[in-house]
Symmetry: C2
Subunit: 360 residues, 2 copies
């Protein structure tokens, strides 16, 4: 029996069985089956396994793909799961199961939960993070802010994804300055805060960041590509890869197409090599609900064919006040990302210390 990849879709259509059959053909052969050679029909055609009609909800459909269609590559796995069908409304990828051999061939988190914990010397407690912002500050201003936040005891300090190579704080000036400030804060306080600049997938920027002492990077797979996570891990060689969801919302914001957030932000970005996967948590400026957010965390961390677990990183309007509630909900193997709230009141170091205290 050849190995299979099973995708589960929600299909919104008058004839879900017909639509399911069309999806199976579109996503494998993309050719009417009567035109395909017999060996291709035998070896590489996908098949609908089940179609479950549900009253008042989209039908639930499972499609079996011959696992060899992915060719052992993450990019090609994405092509077969939703490539062309992403362009049609009414089809939403809600689950995926892979053979262990394929999971083993894909990147996965290089550090995972244990590796990140070791790097920031936090064996079991909640992991705390914030973002350097806003864009438009000078490198000197950003470095001063970074010192305060790191000295306050946070584990991870990432660039806002809005920081790039702008004239107010060019990358080659900003990253060394901020890295130096974080190093100084760590020396002064005995802390182990890691700095993760945003790199837009550029190898040159990743090398510069690493050379200057950054312990990882922020990558936006929606823009830089899904392969950019593993590419960054290769270049970092032991640094943290944090995936930011900018530009990925096209897949998740509508209910009747795209990809369910747990599959995208949990399963797929973990497979692609994210050690930390950022997503917009409930109760903030974005629209995911609590069950969906907890399902993302579960998909990022659950035991799965020996793959290292990734750290879910809920963010998007989180606050110090909500930290205990979020810690109780997500558990400690989580990166809690609190942004603007640490800059309120004009004393970011004290605010960071309050966040630390609130989660001990």
């Amino acid at each position: 029996m050849p190995e299979i990849i099973t995708a589960v879709y929600e299909i919104t259509a008058d004839d879900p069985a017909g639509r399911a059959a069309a999806v199976a053909v579109e996503q494998s052969h993309e050719l009417p089956t009567e035109l395909a050679p017999g060996n291709a029909v035998r070896d590489s055609l996908a098949h609908v396994r089940t179609v479950e009609r549900r009253a008042g909800r989209p039908a639930l459909v499972t499609v079996d793909y011959p696992a060899d269609l992915a060719g052992g590559e993450l990019g090609q796995l994405l092509v077969l799961l939703l490539g062309n069908v992403s362009l049609q409304d009414g089809v939403r990828l809600v689950d995926v199961e892979l053979p262990g051999s394929l999971v083993a061939a894909l990147p996965g988190p290089r550090l995972g939960v244990a590796g990140v914990r070791a790097l920031v010397a936090e064996p079991g407690g909640a992991l705390l993070a914030t973002a350097l912002k806003p864009v438009g500050m000078t490198a000197e201003q950003l470095a001063a802010l970074a010192y305060e936040l790191a000295a306050g005891g946070l584990h991870l300090l990432k660039d806002d994804q809005g920081l790039a190579n702008q004239p107010w704080a060019p990358f080659a000036e900003r990253v060394p300055r901020v890295a130096e400030a974080v190093r100084r804060a760590n020396q002064d306080t005995g802390g182990h805060c890691a700095y993760l600049p945003s790199v837009n997938g550029s190898a040159e920027q990743i090398r510069l960041a690493r050379r200057e002492g950054a312990q990882g990077v922020l990558v936006m797979p929606g823009i830089a590509g899904f392969g950019a996570l593993a590419g960054a891990a290769d270049l970092l060689d032991g640094g943290i890869v944090l995936a930011h969801p900018a530009f990925l919302g096209g897949f998740t914001a509508a209910a009747s197409h795209g990809i369910a957030p747990p599959v995208l932000f949990g399963t797929l970005l973990r497979l692609a090599g994210a050690d930390v996967t950022v997503f917009p948590s409930w109760g903030g400026r974005f629209s995911l609900g609590r069950p969906e957010c907890l399902a993302i965390a579960e998909a990022a961390r659950r035991p799965w064919h020996g793959l290292a677990p990734a750290l879910p990183a809920p963010g998007g309007g989180m606050s110090i006040e909500r930290a205990p509630e979020l810690l109780a909900a997500y558990g400690p193997d989580t990166v809690f990302l609190v942004g603007a709230d640490l800059q309120r009141g004009g004393d970011p170091r004290r605010a960071a210390e309050r966040l630390v205290a609130a989660t001990r």
Copy 2:
């Protein structure tokens, strides 16, 4: 006056002006303005220029971004146009205007319409293309099919995006065999068909393809990243870069969020370096309407700050029979992509010849 990037959004909300203001902050500072230093508020904050309420339709909003926010990078331009806001429903990017200096700094098509025409020796007529498929055929079968299609007089023969490095026809075996078949067909018929393998953004695959005589490659920016188009152009050094829309449909399939197809498949992929931009045309298996498709073609080709025009490539269920209608609608500076229809009847060479005749 500093230069600006103007984005036009359709906003679906009870309070479109309030939502517009939130978008401007989210996409630039991502921080409440009272917390930002004065120089950042002065230099890098985006501003809502106009909010036009429209009866029964989403409000039309223009937001001005300081052009320096993009830092001269395509990836960062995408971050500011729709990065975080992609994760919220109700905001759709429908137009963008850039200063000429930024357009000049971005990749753009390396060959463009004129370069592709020169490469395939077709000075003014319609450009005709097809896809090698289905996956699951052996390299020998694919090469035999490629010979027939190239001998029939097509200008471009691309791999189906379903072809990668699968065991039935591994990349390193398939690409040289198909390239050789196309070369032989060109010699036998005096044609100039170009072969474009699908490369998943891998530099190694692009180099192999070029070495074996491929005249370009197919790249999926939705998976390999938007920077993969310019990266491929660098490696090809004079070859054709064809952008395939797989996995990009998350942005276009819903009406109330994401990116309007002319902006995504026309403007943005042209800026990113596509010489040819494939999209699903009306009347096929996908859901774009005729006006939207013609607007994609217009955005790909219109004179714009000296940027080379790209070739729109309507596909997705096109046929020989419809070719004259499509040629009349799109005009000759178009790549007409006809897939399965050329494999009907068992004589692909004759079918390709009929497609050529139908568009002369």
